[in-house]
Symmetry: C3
Subunit: 135 residues, 3 copies
Amino acid sequence: MPLLRIDVIEGRSEAELKELLDAIHCAMLAAFKVPEHDRYQIVHEHPAAEMRIEDTGLGIPRTERVVMVQVTTRPRSRFEKQNFYELLCQELLRRCEVKASDVVVQLRRMPMKTGLSDTAEPSSSPENFDPIRQM
Amino acid sequence: MPLLRIDVIEGRSEAELKELLDAIHCAMLAAFKVPEHDRYQIVHEHPAAEMRIEDTGLGIPRTERVVMVQVTTRPRSRFEKQNFYELLCQELLRRCEVKASDVVVQLRRMPMKTGLSDTAEPSSSPENFDPIRQM
Amino acid sequence: MPLLRIDVIEGRSEAELKELLDAIHCAMLAAFKVPEHDRYQIVHEHPAAEMRIEDTGLGIPRTERVVMVQVTTRPRSRFEKQNFYELLCQELLRRCEVKASDVVVQLRRMPMKTGLSDTAEPSSSPENFDPIRQM
């Protein structure tokens, strides 16, 4: 159960937001091989003044279409992470007209052994805390 | 000082939000034995389109009452975590009519030795950085 | 590339928000020696009912000017962290009239080897995943 927080500047329609989330999930499915319904996405829309996203001095131009994706997941290999980033940029460009220069990704490892719980019957299903299944 | 981010779909009254936070804190007190005023809760309310919370394929029905609780805390035992989840579900059902199937929890360990600071007089009180006291 | 989430209670003007972000970045530059444009700040403004920030029983008075700063960064020394906190409190008081008693900081270590990616040309620049450069 990777959890994604997605920060954007306000102004997208509901349909555009849906397309954005679908594009991001598509990259997750392909790069991290999560099940189709292993989808936990939360969007935060901000006035432009609330997002100050610069470029570490790399000369990357940011626009108001900038998309910050923060992913909390179990440890992933360098290949998986790079693959995710590349697929993400491809999907966002193709489907949402967001350039790679507007894509910022932060991957956070979930270090806790039983980090995520998610079940309708917690008392009877302690194994739902298992991180292998959950993350 | 565990920090909680709580994501919900907009539509609750201020009184209902307060009850939600009280219910969550009640589970924290009982399961993690934190002091009564060790309470750091931040709510994010979202339009429904901003929260895409599925079920990893487990067949769990989500409604617009879904509550995502993200806890950053010092390491906790499996017992503490499971206990927290169970008490949380009980309290949310009893006090807020939120079913366990609408409760999603993510526990994140705070790995940093001096992870949290919180004091009115930082210069004179370096020990306030101590994670044992702070988390 | 440290990422900062800053939670405040709504009511500040855009100019006041800008000053707040500038003050926080100033403390980052001095304490963590990040490059000037290594600046990734996201603000969340909340109605007062959405932020329940108490004091762990330490008797610290909170007001509606409370500022919660959550920093995800590579590991930092105790000195760096304490220095950051002290400079942050100084800047926030001097420039934004926020007292140290209203400043709450959470530092989170980025444990992932290739934690952050941020580049306009990911395919050709795998080194942009390097955490030493990125965080």
